[in-house]
């Protein structure tokens, strides 16, 4: 299993645990836990992007048909770039969305825009690095 795959998988497991902790917090709001604006979309995306999509990316990088004998997983650098961009973007969203929801200061607005761009770039590079590996053999 390649190193970047292990990082994807372990990070995705951490996101799962954190997402479920957020779900618990959201449920607890009905019995008096502090209401955190913006926590709900963070929960959804830690679960769906951080856990589900990141697990797919890690296992896909490892498991999809080989690109070529010399470069079985196409570009390892792109693999790491996807990992870094996705996690930087998602963590930034996790921080900025609740802060923006209670205070629309320019810093948090900018942070949200940056987080969107980082995640989008991660998605684009993942497709670029994967597309040609999806072939019949």
């Amino acid at each position: 299993m390649p190193a970047v795959t292990r990082w994807f998988i372990k990070s995705s497991l951490v996101y799962l645990a954190v997402a479920l902790a957020f779900a618990l917090w959201l449920a607890g709001q009905s019995i008096g836990f502090a209401v955190v604006p913006g926590l709900s979309p963070v929960f959804f995306h830690f679960f769906l992007v951080g856990w589900v999509t990141q697990m797919i990316m890690g296992v896909g990088y490892w498991f999809f048909p080989k690109y070529s004998p010399e470069q079985p997983r196409r570009s390892e650098r792109l693999g790491w770039a996807v990992f870094g961009l996705l996690n930087a973007g998602l963590l930034l969203r996790g921080l900025a969305e609740p802060l923006f929801s209670s205070n629309a200061a320019a810093t948090w607005r900018t942070a949200l825009v940056v987080s969107a761009v980082l995640q989008w770039l991660a998605g684009l590079l993942f497709v670029v690095n994967t597309w040609e590996r999806i072939k019949e053999r």
Binding site: I56, F64, R109, L112, A116, V117, Q119, V127, W131, E136
Partner: protein, 138 residues
């Protein structure tokens, strides 16, 4: 990877890119309003990513890696898998039409098509959910 899985995975990757693009636009629009209509893309964002990306990828990869039959057709009848893929994409198409046209009837049609897709796909894969290669003839 069999042809069915190549198509399923590539379609899933296209929906992934479209869904991520819409998500990024909605998030940017939340922080720095671009256009009021962008928010109305939220149902498409969810549909493209949950059904177009995740469910479609599960169809493609499941068909590829589940234990095979000992006899041809080793992955079960491919025709059923193709029908499931067609229904799924027709369903996502109907939901897209619902979002664009504002006609809720397309949502209903889309969901019926999607339920059909899942039933046909599950039936296609059912007998391959075994510990190892299986001798059943289909």
């Amino acid at each position: 990877m069999p042809r069915f899985s190549v198509w399923g995975t590539r379609l899933a990757l296209l929906y992934f890119l479209a869904g991520f693009t819409i998500g990024a636009l909605i998030l940017i629009n939340k922080a720095a309003p671009l256009h009021p209509a962008i928010w109305s893309l939220l149902p498409l964002h969810i549909e493209f990513l949950l059904m177009g990306w995740i469910v479609q990828l599960v169809f493609a990869v499941g068909y590829w890696i589940f234990p095979r039959f000992k006899f041809e057709p080793k992955r079960g009848r491919p025709g059923f898998a193709w029908v499931a893929l067609g229904l799924l994409n027709a369903g996502i198409g109907s939901l897209t039409l619902a979002s664009v046209s504002g006609q809720p009837a397309w949502v209903l049609i889309g969901r019926v098509l999607e339920v059909g897709a899942v039933v046909v796909f599950a039936a296609q894969l059912w007998l391959r959910a075994k510990p190892t290669e299986t001798g059943v003839k289909v």
